[in-house]
Amino acid sequence: MPYLLILPAGLWLIVFFVVPAVQLFATSLYDPSGSLATGYAMTGDLGNYPRALGDYWPQLLRSLGYAAVATLACLALGFPLAYAIALKAGRWRNMLLVAVIAPFFTSFLIRTLAWKTILSDTGVLVGLLRHAHLLGADGRLLATPFAVVAGLTYNFLPFMVLPLYASLERFDRRLLEAAGDLYAGPVAGFRRVTLPLAAPGIVAGTLLTFIPAAGDYVNAQLLGTPRTAMIGNVIDSAFLVRLDYPSAAALSFVLMFAILVLTVGYLRRVGAGALDAVS
């Protein structure tokens, strides 16, 4: 009986997720001198990996770096918001939650293009910053690493806020009062009580933000320049423009592997038990 229930979705995931992943791995071992028209020879050649890494390690490191900074920014911005909704909003709680999710429905491409307008050289924001001398007379925000990281932060912030909210919502505020009775100041109370209780949300949120951000290329394409290109841009153009399937497949696997190593390392450090909150 349970097998009948899980079989349809399970088969779908195996045929269209697991098999493609295996196919992608096989593609990464193809002879790179072939082409889509003539077909590729399966040579089991591991050379695609060092070749792809040698050519594109700056984009790979940049992707992981941008994603890490964006994840930290999401945590810094998302924590006060999730805390405020869970513990301070009272009867406005549901309305604020809706306000966090609602921007999702305006397509994320359109919202990213809106950031292009907001950050543009002739926009109000750049004008203000130049006026306040926080930006040079010809300083710009668009087409800088700042714009790309800001775009990533913006697009993945709800993925941080929702799990943080889920773990803070169950938080009993009397625990903080108890900490106060035991002579803990606000900082000690936050560090010793709030933070450990929010840990599952922090772990889930950082993973849900970091993983898609590291693979994203829309923000780098719309808000950046070729000098801010991420690994996703390279994979995308290798598959769809240069039609160089073997090295594109190798890069996809390198990205997966880098994410896997970082995730496992991170979970071992913080304790995998924290992940129970997600599943």
Binding site: L13, F17, Y83, A99, A102, F105, R111, A114, I235
Partner: protein, 263 residues
């Protein structure tokens, strides 16, 4: 002194509201641009108020066809993903069986894989199997990445259900099928509806996976992407604003709906 105390109590709320404003700012810009006539095609300055774009949303060639196609793909993918995902959620919640852990990992993996990897690996598969890219391959891809989110959402709802309700139903002489139809299904329904809404929004909004598997078929996000290279037609902002308003309306309707007992 009072002010200091008030500030200490409320600064988190203030900071939270600032972050919320940051989340909503682009939506406000999109709404503003949807009623703006710019001074030239490539500039996005606020120049003149107009309702022309709202009156003629299909004035931009090809856009409405792309929106209709995205809605069709969204409905079809949502239907398939919701049915498959709900079945699996029931299987994972109500039963213990060999392979349950492996199934959970299989569900979790697509959510932990960057879209560019999922999209490109499907393309590698379709390419190797010589499947022509188009409407069908987009739906296949969308069902694939939506199904996990449906499983997780419905499962969370089912996990919160009190098993004693089923025992009570049995005590009242309900057979297993009746208990499912009259007790389990109504209680699980909000979770299933939430999962379907989530699946639709994921499908309607997806660009990266779609772009790999669409061939020459154009969905709305792909239309926006193409248009972004040559200057976005203002009607795009009308669609963005309309989607936002429809979502708010749906939420308002579900919140205002009178609750009645369903036993």
């Amino acid at each position: 002194m009072r002010l200091g105390r008030w500030l200490a109590d409320h600064w988190v709320l203030g900071a939270g509201l600032v972050v919320l404003a940051y989340l909503l700012l682009p939506v406000a810009v999109v709404a503003g641009l949807s009623v703006n006539r710019a001074s030239s095609r490539l500039s996005y300055d606020f120049h003149e108020f107009t309702l022309d774009w709202w009156a003629h949303p299909c004035g931009s060639p090809g856009m409405c066809a792309a929106v209709v196609r995205s809605v069709q793909i969204g409905f079809l993918s949502t239907l398939v993903a919701t049915v498959l995902g709900t079945l699996m959620a029931f299987g994972l919640t109500r039963h213990r069986f060999a392979g349950r852990g492996a199934t959970s990992i299989l569900v979790f993996l697509p959510m932990a894989t960057p879209e560019v990897v999922m999209g490109s690996s499907l393309l590698a598969l379709f390419g190797a199997a010589r499947v022509p890219l188009g409407f069908a391959t987009i739906v296949i891809a969308h069902v694939m990445f939506c199904v996990s989110f449906v499983v997780v959402t419905v499962r969370a709802r089912l996990a919160g259900l009190d098993p004693q309700l089923l025992e009570a139903a049995a005590d009242l002489y309900a057979g297993p099928w009746q208990a499912f139809r009259r007790v389990t299904l109504p209680l699980a329904l909000p979770g299933i509806v939430a999962a379907a809404l989530l699946a639709f929004s994921l499908s309607f909004d997806d660009f990266i996976v779609t772009n790999f598997n669409a061939g020459t078929t154009t969905t709305f996000p792909m239309y926006v992407w193409g248009a972004a290279q040559r200057g976005i037609p203002p009607q795009v902002n009308v669609i963005g604003t309309a989607m936002f308003l429809i979502a708010l309306l749906l939420v308002a309707l579900t919140m205002l709906r009178p609750r009645r007992a369903r036993f």
